[in-house]
Symmetry: C2
Subunit: 214 residues, 2 copies
Amino acid sequence: MTAPRISDSALRRLSHYLRFLEAFEAAGRETVSSEELAERGGTTSAQVRKDLSHFGSFGKRGLGYPVPELRSRLAGILGVGRRWNVALAGAGKLGAALHAYDGFRRRGFHVVAVFDSDPRKIGRRWGPLTVEDVARLATSAREKAVEIGIVVTPADAAQEVADAMVDAGITAILNFAPAKLVLPENVSLRDVNLAIELEALCFALTHEGWIVGR
Amino acid sequence: MTAPRISDSALRRLSHYLRFLEAFEAAGRETVSSEELAERGGTTSAQVRKDLSHFGSFGKRGLGYPVPELRSRLAGILGVGRRWNVALAGAGKLGAALHAYDGFRRRGFHVVAVFDSDPRKIGRRWGPLTVEDVARLATSAREKAVEIGIVVTPADAAQEVADAMVDAGITAILNFAPAKLVLPENVSLRDVNLAIELEALCFALTHEGWIVGR
DNA sequence: TATTGTGAAAGGGTTCACAGCG
DNA sequence: CGCTGTGAACCCTTTCACAATA
């Protein structure tokens, strides 16, 4: 039995489809075609059908897809629609912004712990939470059954903090620090690197006529 | 003459190489091999050489690459190492975090204008800047020669704000709002979508054994 | 000799086109 | 008849392997 596989781009598209389906459902639409889903997402109907076919067949030939059902199936596939416990490492401005971000909680992501190494920040209240010493990360995050860790520390602290997250049993990390984290095989990592995005824009500005492909 | 092309992933790797070269240069290293660059970046030496070969040949066979020269050539290629004027649309917490982010200015990205639609925010001081009415975006950003726009508004305001950026002559936009922006061909767009990254992590947590590729 | 630069091969994601089915 | 589901074709990216060369 070979491990099933999905590309990062397909996964991102599924997230988009889910968003569109939510909008369609809110608008009371009963069914939707792969063509409609495609044009909203800037892709093709064949792509939509292929993406969905990774997980089964959800449509009716000649009719399209039942909106509420596909929405809920997709939510199940992506693993949203349940609660996930999140810990923030780094009580700086970016951490605060993420913590305050409402779409966050609305989608089931609950920040249950915040950590920092700065004694002036430790002990501060963040709404119902208290900023904890990052030294307590491994034990405290485990106690609180944290499943997802978000790294919003400076680059030089990122690896250490990520290691503590792994010690806490966390197996999914979203990293905003501009550092290349080395993690065990079984831990999922996504990087959000502002510098890289900006440099890609600079490249495009500097090289008019070049095509920056997918 | 067909338009040259580079993949998004190659571009991201170039940013990484640049970072490593800066570190090597700071450490006083004279030369570096594609192999060393590769292992730092989690890729292969052949990949490094292919990536660089898009833009010329910078190495010496048998020796490797001269660190300072390759660093400066790469910086030139990516278009960093000069000043870029940036405007922020959205004076919320995320905007503030980006504005305060130091690595930002250090890399030549200067926030020269901040816009918002909230009357309570308009007129506030942000360091040397004053939050301006978003209605003034098109004219003010043009006056200030803004080249890169960053959208940190709620989703429902994002398209409108992006349109104003285009009116201001901005041709590079970094979008943090969870909205699909429709822009003219000649405008470069990069999306940073927190929900999508988190959902990809949820997927991985929910589907142990699956491989999320690329 | 060590390492680059690069055609050729392999791999994998996207598009095509049509059979299958409601 | 319309639209899905999918094998096959296509295309782009990565990897391989080796000739070129400092």
